[in-house]
């Protein structure tokens, strides 16, 4: 499952939720929800979309690890590297 540009997938899905955001201006270490003004429903929709796009299981309890861009990329890379995709 290597070769997937996780950041590009996040950028695309974020663009659906927050089309006015300049992705390049986002600080990868700062809470994405604050930077992109995502409410609980938006964030759940982002997780849902990443789950479908990447085929990785993202338990609800892990959501916190995806609140920053660097956290999300690290988490998803780890998921894609280890074990078969779940769904």
């Amino acid at each position: 499952m290597s070769g997937i540009d996780i950041l590009a997938v996040i950028r695309e899905e974020l663009a659906r939720l927050a089309p006015e955001i300049e992705f390049a201006d986002l600080d990868p270490a700062v809470d994405l929800r604050e930077q992109a003004d995502l409410d609980s429903m938006d964030f759940l929709n982002l997780i849902t979309a990443l789950h479908h796009r990447l085929g990785v299981d993202i338990p609800d309890a892990d959501g916190r690890q995806l609140t920053t861009l660097e956290g999300a990329v690290g988490y998803l890379q780890g998921k894609l590297a280890g074990g078969p995709p779940s769904a």
């Binding site: 939720l17 927050a18 089309p19 006015e20 929800r33 604050e34 003004d37 409410d39 609980s40 429903m41 759940l44 929709n45 997780i47 849902t48 789950h51 479908h52 993202i58 338990p59 609800d60 309890a61 769904a87």
Partner: protein
């Protein structure tokens, strides 16, 4: 014959623009079907019909702005004979080749209107203004020689096919609509405000357990529990659920909870989740997702906009700890939930970290008093202690 009219989609709406018809003459429609899209200050709204029958005739063309109450179409009940249009075309000579599927417009037999008395349909007038067409130089093909949209189209065809969807969302219109409703609210409604901080650890834990087993698209948000709790609490406290119109408060038989949804870039709408007290949490959550999704693209239905009976504004996990709502007239109450925070909390004499939320109530003093308001808020808090029962 039933007249399908431009609906009122809020106390402040005076007129609406028909954007498109979603049904054709001859089509059967059922109560609840979406039959048209109307552009209002709140954006494009899908209009449902409340009668069952067959679309007999459409009286208004897309593009026309008409006052609330204007008949848009005639609906005949099943079996009722079709009503002939006012100007009946004479039967074409059998030899003449039949025109294309669309019946050819027929010149009116006599009615050549007197000069200066041109009848122009609103849609035609609007399009003519847009394209700079001189109406006095056109020959109308509509009833009694009226100039209709097709005549203007023929005189000045669009350079590119015009988009069926309304243009980009109009934020200034939205601001105007909010200003009108909220000014009226603050002018007319004597608000009183109550606030209570509720320990919702039980609900937070319950949602976490429920979500642990679920894929993301079936997960719940606490917001669904808040809406369910408010809707359920109105059963015991009906004076917070209903409409005050012409000085009379009428409690609503069901709780149609308006869900305040912020629009990116500014503004908000609070379309309704119908009969929220009777929905199980999964259905309620699915409807919330659907509603938020449609608000994001600016499509919601007439009944959702027109008939909330109480509003809930819930901040989720970001924002501030308490929000004090402004009642959307003619409703009489709005319940606010701030962001969920972890706080030191004393339970049974022991301080422990707990997830808490500040719930507020803004209610109309013409209908209820703070004492009942406090009991209502208390009931919402009590219901949230037993999430499995919601």
């Amino acid at each position: 014959m039933i007249e399908f009219r431009m609906p009122s989609l809020g106390a402040d709406m005076e007129a609406g623009t028909l954007v498109e018809w979603l049904v054709k003459p001859g089509e059967t429609v059922r109560r609840g079907d979406i039959v048209a899209v109307v552009e209002t200050q709140k954006g494009a709204i899908e209009i449902e019909i409340f009668d069952t029958g067959v679309v007999d005739r459409q009286l208004i063309e897309p593009g026309a702005t008409v006052p609330v109450g204007t008949p848009l179409a005639l609906i005949r009940s099943e079996g009722e004979p079709s009503q002939p249009p006012p100007v009946q075309a004479p039967a074409p000579a059998p030899a003449a080749p039949p025109p294309a599927a669309k019946p050819a417009p027929v010149a009116p037999p006599v009615a050549q209107p007197a000069p200066g008395q041109i009848h122009v349909s609103p849609a035609a007038r609007r399009l003519a203004a847009e394209r700079g067409v001189d109406l006095s130089r056109l020959t109308g093909t509509g009833p009694d020689g009226a100039i209709v949209l097709a005549d203007v189209e023929a005189a000045a065809p669009a350079a590119a096919p015009s988009a069926a969807r309304p243009a980009a969302f109009d934020f200034s219109q939205m601001r105007t609509a909010i200003a009108a409703a909220m000014s009226r609210s603050k002018r007319e409604i004597p608000h009183y405000y109550l606030s209570d901080t509720i320990d919702i650890q039980a609900a937070v834990d319950w949602v976490a357990r429920a979500n642990a087993e679920r894929p993301p698209d079936r997960r719940l948000l606490l917001g669904a529990l808040f809406i369910k709790a408010v809707a359920t609490a109105t059963r015991a406290y009906p004076e917070f659920n209903g409409l005050l119109q012409d000085g009379v408060f009428r409690p609503a038989p069901a709780a149609h909870v308006g869900l305040a949804i912020a629009i990116r870039g500014g503004g908000l709408v609070a379309p309704a989740i119908h009969g929220a007290a009777d929905l199980d949490l999964d259905t309620l959550m699915a409807q919330m997702r659907d509603l938020v999704g449609r608000v994001r693209v600016g499509r919601f239905r007439s009944s959702e906009i027109a008939d909330p009976t109480i509003t809930v504004s819930s901040l989720g996990d970001r924002g501030v700890e308490a929000l004090y709502g402004v009642i959307y007239p003619p409703q009489v109450a709005i319940v606010g939930f701030g962001k969920v925070v972890e706080r030191p909390w004393v339970t049974a004499g022991v301080v422990a970290p707990r997830q808490v939320v500040t719930a507020t109530l803004a209610a109309d003093h013409r209908v209820s008093d703070g004492h009942r308001g406090a009991l209502f808020l208390g009931e919402i808090g009590r219901l949230l202690q037993q999430p499995e029962a919601l």
